[in-house]
Amino acid sequence: MDQTRGWFYTLHAIAVMAFDSISFKNVVSNGLVLDKNGVKMSKRLGNAADPFETIAKYGADATRWYMISNAQPWDNLKFDVAGIEEVSRRFFGTLFNTYSFFTLYANIDGFRYAEADIPVEKRPEIDRWVLSALNSLSEACERSYADYEPTEAARKMMYFVDEQLSNWYVRLSRRRFWRGEYNEDKISAYQTLYECLVTLAKLMAPVSPFFADWLYRNLNEVTGKELHPSVHLALMPAPDASHADPGLEQRMDYAQRIASLVLSLRKASKIRVRQPLQKLLLPVLDSQFIGQVDEVKDLILAEVNVKEIEYVTDTSGLLHKRVKPNFKTLGKRLGKHMKAVSDLLAAWTQADIQQLERSGQYVFELGSESFPATLEDFEILTEDIPGWQVASDNGLTVALDVTLTPELEAEGMARELVNRIQNIRKTRNFNVTDQIAVTLENHPEVASAVESFGGYIRQETLSATLSLADNVTEGEVLELPNEVQLRIRVELV
């Protein structure tokens, strides 16, 4: 039977009347579960989801995680199995892949966490960063759980797993796992990734009790590091101040966000990542900005394939910005004042906008009332300048020089050729030490790449010779950018 608010009332009323007391300290009011179109589920409409089928098909954890991460418990949930599939793939799938990556190499190297912990300060920056981010995640999750905000906790874990652990830490650290000897750097990588996985198992256990226990047990079965046979008997990870490095987290956050802005600009301008670009401009946000970004500069440039970063303190000549109120967030709060606010913002100078971006806040004084506002209450639009592409994210702005010089185009083509030749080596199962001879069909774009970057191509592909010929009859057909199509012959020498 649907016990709705009746129970809250009768619990409270009886406690007050009979005992002059409350009977509960914290109460979470739940929303409704509607169908994906927002219609109430009913037998009559045949739109009610069967809980048994759902759990049998997707598993309890994906169902639970979807429900919790999709909407706060007190809001209505538009139940859509597509959302469960998404959670299953993007969250559990990504975490599973990360676990699989770890076990694949840990089994090869025989890593059983038998070695003493490598002191954090001795670990490479990328390890220290992910441990600091993990520590921040633990703190945030515990705060959210304690505040009865499970949706917040779930979303933070999703961000960590997807953006930080898988797409950044593992991707950038890949080579440390698959290359080289079993040395301190490799052990550090294993210890770090292990800690991420086992900590995640604990943090996620309340929401997804099955997968969490599976992960915890699979890891602990080998290492025996944990005292308990089940994650549900364990304690939540205690925050470790020695892991916290806010400065490092900030600069890595800059690196991730700058890289992601540049990649989005490349995508929008249809310029592939292998095509090098000359320069990106970064407006300076604060006094620490240059120092912080400089420390992760190489990482950023390598990620986005750009040659240099230039910092600008005065963007007025370069970027023209406009600001508008965000009606979604301000409308409700300001109501009748919205018109006045629009007028006010229309009159703002570039310096006013810069000031807002730096401080991240503003107080509207309207009549006798004050309305504090934050960055999200504004829409800041940047007008494009010829030859440049500009994008912003939460105060951070990137301007990308999209001019392609013949030199850059040749280098881009050289990189494409390296990629294709390496693919050929792989499909033909050449040994990594095998020397080859490469003959390319002549084509003006390819010719300039070979002329300027022949040495680079030969070195990367272990080619003893790299030559152009007018008529290549045998070998593979290459599809290159700008609709260039030509034959290539690769031979062992």
Binding site: T10, E149, W214
Partner: protein, 617 residues
């Protein structure tokens, strides 16, 4: 070696981990390994196993499970006693439906004992499915030792709580107008009317009736109602003291008779366009639109109208006292209608109150046992005395009929030159949350908890509770507490916790029983005084408890008040009754009170505002 897997198979992981939890008793260990002194108290708001588990239950249970698991991992001991909600209307209605009987058959074609036996059987029908979904979704709750609300122990704690309220003077019996569901055959509490979806838009036939003023030719008061079926029960009209009324000369649009009508000046615009000297009767023949009039004869204040008399509109039944007068009511407004409110003391809370205040009689007839009753019976049908409409349902209860009785009443008024205007009217109307049929406001003799006496304290203590989201607690719940009404405890049903109050025939003495031991003691007293050989029933439910006769201090026999209590009292009593407190587990109770955490399907937008009385309808 770490285990390696080709693909992720979450349902497979569920199976493996469930088997592991079972084999190693991980749930039990997760509770037992934590110290009692560091407890986190959770109350399970129990489901009824009478319905199938749905996806929303998975949602609700996930939320509960998350915080219990989190606090376990924060080092706390989190016991989760499960429970089953087993009483109440939903179960009774499903048994009625399966047997193909109605409420009236119970005690006639089927004994109450047999009926209640079926309820007890039915209520756990889907227990296995519930246990299954609980396990499969990974919801950790103790299903081995649940509390079950139909047990004698649970009922005994409810009795103990009621006795405590009784001793504090918080229980009383009153004859009031209450929401009543003819389809369910029982009164409803205001929190039941606040269920989401209780208010639904329906189209009624509204009427502006002409009440003929005594001693005047063709002069009428105009009063508007959306419930023409209450017109045969009219015994007064209410006006606002400070409202200005006008006497308007015009013609009746249906009969073209010349009439002089009285209504609030501010409401003129709803019925009239403009004065038109020399107006012809046929010019007001138009449909429902405002019409011209001849002239305004006079302006009168409400105070001047007080005490005026009019002729009974539909004289089926005669009043046993003064009636058909104009009263002053503070609730009269000029927001809608005519500014004159039709009063039927048997069918509206305000009507009842104002009529009592003025000593105006209600229209009543005698039922088969000689008890007074209103002109509509408990099934929602007109009594035989309302000859033209005898046996007709006053609202839509699924009956087959050519047209609603409201329409026939309007037709009759029209023919008798008693109708000024009739229109279709779309408005939200309360419906019974279980039968989905319309609710009537109906006079009932019920037991109440004087909750309103403690509303300030409830409000104050509510502010110490952490509500998620905060707006629900401070806003909706807080506002509701501020306007709290007394809690209608009585239910005229069969399967539920019996009201433990025995009364003498003259109603002068009451005894509230607070325990089985007390019942035994009182039975023994009665046996001695009345020469009976009763024993405490094995089962505290009806009909067995109904047979127990007690004795008053003056030696008169006392019979149990036949009502059951609102099933919501059962659920509100769970902090105490789950432990059979105070008869057992006193330590356990103290360690587990109050709860750190509860969660339930909550507070969604209600269909409409407050409960309308007949007056505002």
């Amino acid at each position: 070696m770490y285990k390696e897997f080709k693909t992720l198979n979450l349902p497979q992981i569920d199976q493996e981990i469930l088997a592991f939890w079972d084999a190693q008793k991980i749930f039990d260990r997760s509770v037992e390994e934590r110290p009692v002194e560091n407890s986190y108290v959770f109350y399970e708001g129990p489901p009824s196993a009478n319905g199938m588990p749905g996806i929303h239950h998975v949602m609700a249970r996930t939320i509960k499970d998350i915080f219990c698991r989190y606090h376990t991992m924060a080092g706390q001991r989190v016991e989760r006693k499960g429970g089953w909600d087993t009483h109440g209307l939903p179960i009774e209605l499903s048994v009625e439906k399966e047997l193909g009987i109605t409420r009236d058959d119970i005690g006639k074609t089927i004994s109450v004992a047999e009926y209640n036996r079926l309820c007890r059987e039915t209520v756990m029908r889907y227990k296995d499915l519930w246990d299954d979904i609980t396990r499969k979704m990974g919801y950790w709750v103790d299903l081995e030792n649940p509390y079950i609300t139909y047990t004698n122990d649970y009922i005994e704690t409810c009795w103990w709580l009621l006795k405590r309220l009784f001793d504090k003077g918080l229980l009383y019996k009153g004859y009031t107008i209450q929401p009543f569901s003819p389809a369910a055959g029982t009164g409803l509490s205001s929190h039941e009317l606040n269920q989401p979806g209780a208010y639904r838009d329906i189209t009624d036939t509204s009427a502006v009736a002409q009440f003929r003023i005594k001693g005047a030719e063709n002069e009428y008061f105009l009063a508007w109602t959306t419930t023409p079926w209450t017109l045969p029960s009219n015994t007064a009209l209410a006006v606002g003291k400070h409202i200005t009324y006008v006497k308007v000369r015009t013609f009746n649009r249906y009969t073209q008779e010349p009439v002089t009508v009285i209504l609030a000046k501010d409401r003129m615009g709803a019925y009239f366009t403009e004065p038109k000297p020399g107006l012809k009767p046929e010019e007001v023949k138009a449909g429902n639109k405002p019409v011209p009039y001849l002239e305004i004869v006079e302006e009168i204040s409400g105070a001047q109208l007080e005490g005026m008399e009019y002729e009974q509109l539909m004289p089926y039944v005669q009043p046993d006292g003064p009636a058909f007068r104009v009263l002053l009511g503070d609730f009269v407004s000029t927001e809608d209608g005519t500014g004159i409110v039709h009063i039927a003391p048997t069918f509206g809370a305000d009507d009842f109150r104002v009529a009592k205040q003025y000593g105006i009689a209600a229209l009543l007839v005698k039922d088969e046992n000689g008890h007074p009753m209103p002109l509509v019976d408990r099934q929602g049908r007109f009594v035989k005395e309302v000859t033209d409409f005898a046996g007709r349902y006053v609202k839509d209860y699924g009956q087959e009929e050519e047209r609603p009785v409201d329409v026939d009443i309007v037709i009759k008024l029209k023919e008798e030159n008693k109708l000024f205007l009739s229109e279709k009217y779309l408005h939200p109307y309360p419906h019974c949350w279980r039968t989905e049929k319309p609710v009537l406001y109906y006079p009932l003799d019920s037991w109440f908890i004087r909750a309103s006496a403690l509303k300030e304290r409830m409000f104050e203590l509510n502010q110490t509770i952490n509500w998620k989201p905060a707006s629900t607690g401070e806003g909706r719940f807080g506002k509701w507490l501020e306007n709290l009404q007394d809690w209608n405890l009585s239910r005229s049903r069969f399967w539920g916790t019996p009201l433990p109050i025995w009364r003498t025939k003259d109603g002068r003495q009451d005894k509230c029983i607070g325990s089985v031991a007390m019942l035994k003691e009182e039975i023994e007293k009665a046996n001695a005084a009345l020469g009976l050989a009763q024993v405490v029933p094995q089962d505290l439910h009806r009909p067995f408890i109904d047979e127990v006769v007690l004795v008053s201090d003056a030696g008169e026999p006392m019979h149990r008040e036949p009502d059951l209590i609102d099933v919501w009292f059962d659920s509100g009593a769970m902090p105490y009754a789950q432990w059979h407190y105070p008869f057992e587990n006193q330590d356990k109770f103290r360690q587990n009170y109050p709860a750190d955490f509860i969660a339930k399907k909550g507070w969604t937008k209600p269909g409409a505002g407050s409960i309308p009385s007949m007056l505002s309808l």
